[in-house]
Symmetry: C2
Subunit: 418 residues, 2 copies
């Protein structure tokens, strides 16, 4: 597997565009299109929120029933959630209009929205935006970046990625773009994530891969504990790489899986690091859990704790808050038989092998350890803060990613609509 330049347009046959449609804000790109020259199989995961935005409902139906998809239209500014039957009608009309211009059935056009809940999308601006997108769509890196920038809201960083992987002698490419900065506590997937690939892979195999991979990637991040109404991850494969079909239980499957996981994990970490107002990425790994669910729940509880997040913003080694967050996670572990360390990137490999000597021990078996506050403050002032928790009760490991809680998170969200 090799990381390369580019994003969703890196795989063969994928075009894209990003344009200014003036839906909510002036002078910024706010509509994006992904278009594939060949029909795609698609896998998707969506928010577990009971309140599902209209585009989520539209996409869920297409992912389940449509024989193929070939385009995605995304807008920012308005989420098209809490919009009733009119909201569904807007999805249908958007897909129909894009289909008309792209010569596709409406059931081949996925839609996505993010922004304020409750407002209706202005259909005239959406239609004008679709026309611009259809005209402007192009191959190449620049077009992909245009689309990726157009789906940003409070994001401060454009989040694109592309990798290649050899599948039985054929180069397959995977590209991705994601957005998400607030209302990030995905449950089944991330805010908005789009992954393209030219791999030849059938829908069932792709779906299995995606549903499994979100559990250790997008589902393991949190910015603020709020699970959005619009969370959507779509993975589209158009088959233009011409590889032999990828089948489960083969080395090619494992290679593709690894590449897809790299794309998803990288994007998930970027979402956490670019959380609203964030100054630091918090990476918490729980080692030696008796099952994967326990490891994941504990890791996620730490990165979701407001008090831990605020302490890290203050570079304050208030590790009692980490211990406390483990304690209220609601799963079984023994606080008198576990250890907490501040870790680092270099020592992760050894830690995975059970050697924590590269970490700074701060708590073990019921009691705090003697450590240098000065050294701890230094580690807590890095761009990424690593927390290792060894619960000494099994073989499973899980990692979760979050961000610190800052004044800017409050500022951004106190006047988001204005």
């Amino acid at each position: 597997m090799k990381q390369i330049e580019g994003g969703i347009t890196a795989p063969k046959g994928f075009l894209a565009a990003g344009v200014e449609a003036g839906i909510k804000y002036e002078n910024r790109k706010d509509m994006a299109m992904i278009y594939s020259e060949a029909p795609c199989v698609v896998a998707g995961t969506f928010t577990s929120n009971k309140v599902k935005a209209a585009p989520v409902k539209w996409d869920m139906e297409l992912v389940e029933k449509s024989p193929f998809v070939q385009a995605v239209i995304v807008n920012t500014g308005i989420a098209n959630a809490g919009t009733g039957e009119e909201g569904m009608q807007i999805c249908r009309e958007s897909a129909k209009e894009a289909g008309r211009l792209l010569n596709l059935p409406e059931t081949a056009v996925l839609v996505g929205s993010t922004g304020v809940i409750g407002a209706q999308l202005p259909m005239d601006k959406i239609k004008a935006g679709i026309a611009k997108l259809a005209e402007k769509k192009a191959a190449g890196k620049e077009a992909g970046t245009d689309a990726s920038i157009a789906i940003m809201t409070t994001d401060t960083v454009n989040k694109e990625i592309a990798v290649t992987v050899e599948i039985a002698g054929v180069t397959v490419t995977i590209g991705g773009m994601s957005k998400g900065s607030g209302m990030i506590h995905p449950n089944m997937c991330t805010m908005l994530g789009y992954v393209t690939t030219d791999a030849v892979i059938d829908k069932e195999t792709l779906t299995g891969l995606v549903k499994n991979d979100v559990l250790s990637t997008y589902n393991m991040i949190s910015v603020d504990g709020d699970t959005s109404t619009n969370d959507t991850l779509l993975v589209m494969a158009n088959g233009l790489a011409g590889n032999a079909p990828i089948k489960q239980g083969t080395p090619e499957y494992e290679a593709f899986k690894e590449a897809l996981h790299f794309v998803n994990e990288t994007q998930a970490k970027r979402l956490a690091a670019d959380g609203e107002g964030a100054m630091a990425l918090i990476e918490t790994t729980v080692f030696h859990a008796k099952d994967i669910e326990t490891a994941r729940t504990l890791a996620k509880s730490v990165i979701s704790s407001s008090l831990t997040k605020a302490a890290i913003f203050g570079h304050d080694s208030n590790w009692g808050r980490i211990l406390c967050a483990l304690g209220y996670a609601g799963v079984d572990f023994d606080p008198d038989h576990c250890a907490i360390y501040y870790g680092n990137e270099a020592g992760k490999g050894a830690a995975l092998q059970g050697d924590f000597s590269a970490g700074m021990l701060i708590y073990e078996d019921g009691i705090g350890s003697a450590y240098s506050e000065e050294e701890a403050t230094k580690l807590l002032s890095e761009e990424t803060v690593y927390i290792w928790v060894d619960i000494k009760s099994g073989k499973e490991t899980a990692t979760a990613w979050g961000c610190d809680l800052t004044y800017d998170y409050v500022k951004i969200n106190a006047d988001y609509r204005s």
Copy 2:
């Protein structure tokens, strides 16, 4: 039932004191004592956190096994959590020392701590503090207030309460003091709450009342979603009022229950209103749920949502965040068959009867309603913001209390230890 002046010393036979012991901060009261002239039955509820502070473990054992209790010693500054066997030893020694000075067995002395996790309590200062407390303990309002002030940490308001209730011609008094401002998301009880009463009531009846009442009071508040390692509620009854014993199924039981509930609910609301950095109390009531658990879960999800809390700090009617928080609560309800209102104190009674006309409708049955943004901003700028949710599927109602998320919450928690 009648609210009166005073706090924990209002019931007959309860003395108290608050002194400066210099445990962590200079020039502030940081140790408190409650002492009863007669032995008390006691009921308690404690944190559900897997990590339980040493004083929680000590009190749990006493509440379960001790034939009677007669004193409580509380310190702030250090939580005595994550302190291993040494922490337990400190509890035992504290109880023993207080028992020696008060002429009580150590098993009659409850202890409580709140503050930073992980540090050991300085036993010399604790002992000196206990000596001062034992000497200074007194009856009367002032002594009760001294104790109540001594248990404050980041609290900005002293939280005392007292009520009287007639039990078959005899006046029974209930008093309370509580502290808690951060790490507030109680699960079985509040941060630190102490309730005294001179009622004659047996332990089993009192325990049943308390365990049931916390479900609709302390367990329905949240400041930051972090469930503390030290949450403790203790209710002590010394029987000095001389009423006929309170028995379940009698009008006297109902009267006492109502009075106790008023004390607990008032204190719980005060904890939420004085949440770290809080500018506003958020009261969310869910009406017409099919069961009480559904109502409670939905109400608590709204007041726990960081995004809703930040929007209310900004006086921004971003009601999609309320709907979103209902949606991810993890319980069954139909977003296309429910209504959200901004409410008010005056209209609560009618709302409980199913008449929501006093509220401002903002969302109903899948779609936002036309309302005045100006009026909404006004309601969201009040000291208490009322959110009413009618989920139209049953007869149960529940209320939860939280507070807005402000810059000061971040400030307080980014450098709590320094």
